[in-house]
Amino acid sequence: MTERLFEGADWDFHTLQRITDACEEAALKDLGLDVYPNQIEVITAEQMLDAYSSVGMPLFYKHWSFGKHFAYHEASYRKGLMGLAYEIVINSSPCISYLMEENTATMQTLVIAHAAFGHNHFFKNNYLFKQWTDAEGILDYLDFAKNYVMQCEERYGRTEVERTLDAAHALMSHGIDRYPGKKQLDLREEEKRAGRRRQHEEEVFNDLWRTVPKGASKARTAISLERRRKLLGLPQENLLYFLEKSAPRLAPWQRELLRIVRHIAQYFYPQSQTKVMNEGTATYVHYRIMTQLHQQGRISDGNFLEFLGSHTNVVFQPEFDDQRFSGFNPYALGFAMMQDIERIVTSPSDEDREWFPDIAGKNDVMGVLRDVWANYRDESFIGQFLSPKLMRHFRMFHLHDDPEERAGIRVDAIHDERGFRRVRRELARQHDVGYIDANIEVVDVDLSGDRRLILHHRVIKGSQLNETDAKRVLQHLADLWTYDVALIEVDGSDKVLREYVVSPRPIPAAVA
C-alpha cells in the first residue's frame, strides 16, 4: 500500500523531505501536536562541536570559556571518549534542529520525530517556556548580544569586557528571576531599547556638564532600614539584576553586559527545570511516530529494529550499584512516565483509580498528555504522576545520609505501601531547582557606612558553599560592586555558620 520512506541506511535531501512530511502528518493529525515552524539543518561533526561550545546556539558572543569547552570536547571526541549527540534543537521560532550528517536514514527519522516535533511541541506549549522565553526573539537577541559585545571590545578594550563577562558568568546561576510578576520577556524590544538608550546618550552628550561645580550634597536624613530595603528592592535573589540596577560604579555598557548574561541565563532556566519532561515528551513522541510509520509499512522491519536498538540505548536506566550509574536518566524516567500515563488513561488498575482518579480510564491519551506537557515542570510532574507501579518497576528506594549518624546511611523508604508517597516526594524534590541551587539573596547595603553589600545564604540541610569557589565568585561580585561584599551563611534558625568578606581588586589603571 503505502510506499517506503527509504530503503537501507542512505538518505538524501529528498528522503529527508519525505521523512519530515510523514512525521509531520503523524504528529499533527494523530498526536494533535502544536509546533513552531520547523527548520532542519544538516551539519558535520566539527560544526556539532562548535555548537556544543556555544551552549547549542547558532550564534553567540565571543568569550574564552567557549574556547576552553571546545578544546575539551574536541580532545575527548578525537580520542573516542565521547560520542556526539545525534541532534541539537533550539527553542526558537522557527524551531531549528541540527542533524548530524553521519546519522543513518532511520536515525534521521528518529531525530526529526524527536526534536522537530517532540521538543518543538514542548517548547511551544509548556507554561515555563511560555512564561520565561521568547522563541521569536532569541536569535535576533543573540545577534544583538554578539554585536554589542564586539562593539564594547572595540570601544573599551578586550580585557575590560572580558573581566566584566567573567564576573557575570560566575554569577549566571544567580541571575535568574524565579518568580513571575514582571512583564513578559520581549527580547526584540530589549534590543531596540538598548539601541535607543545609547543613541539618546550620544545625542544629549555635553561635556560642559562635567565642568559644572557640584553643590554641597544635601544633608542626608537617616532613613530607616525598612525604607532603605524598599528603595533598593531588597531582598533580591537575582544578583545580576541587583548589580545592574544598583551597583554604584558600573559603566552603562557594563550594566548592559550584565543584562545580556542575565537574559541568556533566564532563557535557559526553563530547560533546567524540565529535563525529565522535555526528554520524556520527545522520546514518547518519537516512539509513537516511529511505531506508526512502521505499522503503515513506511519503514521496513530491518530499519525498525535498528530504531528499537537505539531507542533502547537511549532509555536505558542502570541500577544504583551498576558502574554506569550516574543518577536517573531523564530519558528513561520521562519516557516510562509518559507510557505509564498512557496505561493509566486506557487500562487502569484499581490501584491507579485510587491514586489518579482524575485521569484513570479517561481514554483520551493525547488529551491528558498534552495537558500534562503544558502545565507541569519536573518537580510537580513527578510529584503528581509517578505511579506506585513505576516505583515498583524501577525498584526505587530513598536513602537518608546524615553525616552525624554513626550507624551509616539509613534506608528511609522503599517501594512499598508505606513508602510510595515518601519516595515520590523525595524524587520530586531532587528535581526541584529551588533545592538544587544555593539560596543566596542580597539582604542589605550599608549605605551610611562603607557601602558594604551584605548577602545571606540560607543553608538547607547543612549543605554549605564550597569555600574556594565561593571566595572566587565573591571576588568577582566585589569587583563589580567595587566595595566590600560580605556573605553570611545562616541556617534555619538564623544562626551564623560562616562569614566571608571580600574586598574588590583595584582596577588596573592601564585602561582608561
Partner: protein, 427 residues
Amino acid sequence: MAIHIIDRRLNPGGKSLENRQRFLRRAKSLVQGAVKKTSQERDIKDVLEGGEVTIPLDGMHEPRFRREGGTRDMVLPGNKKFIEGDYLQRSGQGSAKDSGPGEGDSEDAFRFVLSRDEFVDLFLDDLELPDLAKRKIAQTESEGIQRAGYTTSGSPANISVSRTVKLALARRIALKRPSKEEIDELEAAIAACTDEDERVELVALLEKLKAKSRRIPFIDPLDIRYRRYEKVPRPVAQAVMFCLMDVSGSMSEHMKDLAKRFYMLLYVFLKRRYKHVEIVFIRHTDRAEEVDEQTFFYGPASGGTLVSSALQAMYEIVRERFDPSDWNIYAAQASDGDNSYSDGELTGMLLTDKILPTCQFFAYLEVGESGGSAFDLSDSSLWTLYDRLRNSGAPLSMRKVSERSEIFPVFHDLFQRRETAQEKAAP
C-alpha cells in the same frame, strides 16, 4: 506548513577559532609551560608536530556557587534487598560520583590538542626569539614558477606560436582549406589552358577555392594557445645536521637541556629551508661514536674528553655518506669547554683542514650552569682554541650559553649568512 531543510555542511568551519585563540591567549603562560615540558620529552624531529598538552585547570577555572556536604537525601533505582530502616555502611567516599565536562574538582588537569602551528609558535615564543627572526623561521618556503602545458586564455605575451600554428594547421587540413600551392597550380593551369570550356570550369573552381580559403581563416582565434605556468614549491636541497656533544661526567642535565634546545631550534630552522633534513648524533668522551637520539641525550657514558675524536668521526661519516656537493652540512657542537690539553693541536687542525671547508655553518655552544658566573673567570681550553681559530679567519659561530634566552643569538650568524647559503642550496 513549509519545512525548511538546509544543508549547512558546506558552511565555513572553524566558528570557534576565535574563542579558541582567546582561550590560548588567556592560558598562554600555562600552555607555554606545557609546550616546554612536552618539547623536552620529545625527539628533535618531532618538535614540529602539534600534539596534546595538559595544563592545570586551576587558572582556567570558572567558579560557581556550589553547595557541598550536609545531610543528603537521594532516591535511587534498583533496590534488591533493602527494607525500610536498614542501615548501609559508608564506604569511605560517597558512592555517587558527579562530574560535569570541564567543570568541578573532578579534573585537576585539562587536556587538549594543539595544532602544529600553534605548537611551533609557542615553542619559538618560549625561546624568546626576536620577532623578525621568528618571521624568517616561520615563513613558508618560497614558490617557483614552472611551465605546465597550454591554456586557451592568457596574456598576449604568453602566446605559444608553435602550438598555435600547429593547431591551425590541423584545423586547415581537417576543413580542407586549399593550400597556396594548390591555388598557384590552378592559376598556372588556367594560364596555360587553351580550351575555353575547360578554362571556364577551372576559373569557377579557382573562385570556389578562393572563397573557401577566405571562409576558413589561416589562423582562427580558436587555434590560439597560451603557455600556462604553475606555481610549484621551489626545489630545495637536502641538508644534514651533525650534533656533536661532550657527554663526559662534567655535563649536567641543565647543560644537556640547553644543548637539546639549541639542536631543536637548528632543526626547526633547517626544516623550513630544506625539504629533507638528516640528523647525525655523535657523542664523545675520549672516544666518539654515532648513536641514536635517545642514547645521545640520556645514555650513560664516562671517560675523559677528546674533542678531536668527535671531529674525526664526523669527518669520516661525511666522507662515507654525505658528499658535500649533494648535501648542505651543518654542524653544532655543544660542550662545557673541557678538552684534554694535548688534544688542542689535533682538534684545531681537523677543524680548519677537514671540517670547516665542507660545512655551511659550524656552531660551537659552550653551555654552563644556570646563573653561570663561573664563566667570566677564565675561558675554557676549547673556547681559547676556537677563539684563536676564529680570529685567524675561520668561519665559526660560537657562544657561551647558560640560560635558554641566550641560545638565539648564536643564530645571528646563520641568518646573516643566509644569502651565501642560499646560493649553495640551489641545485
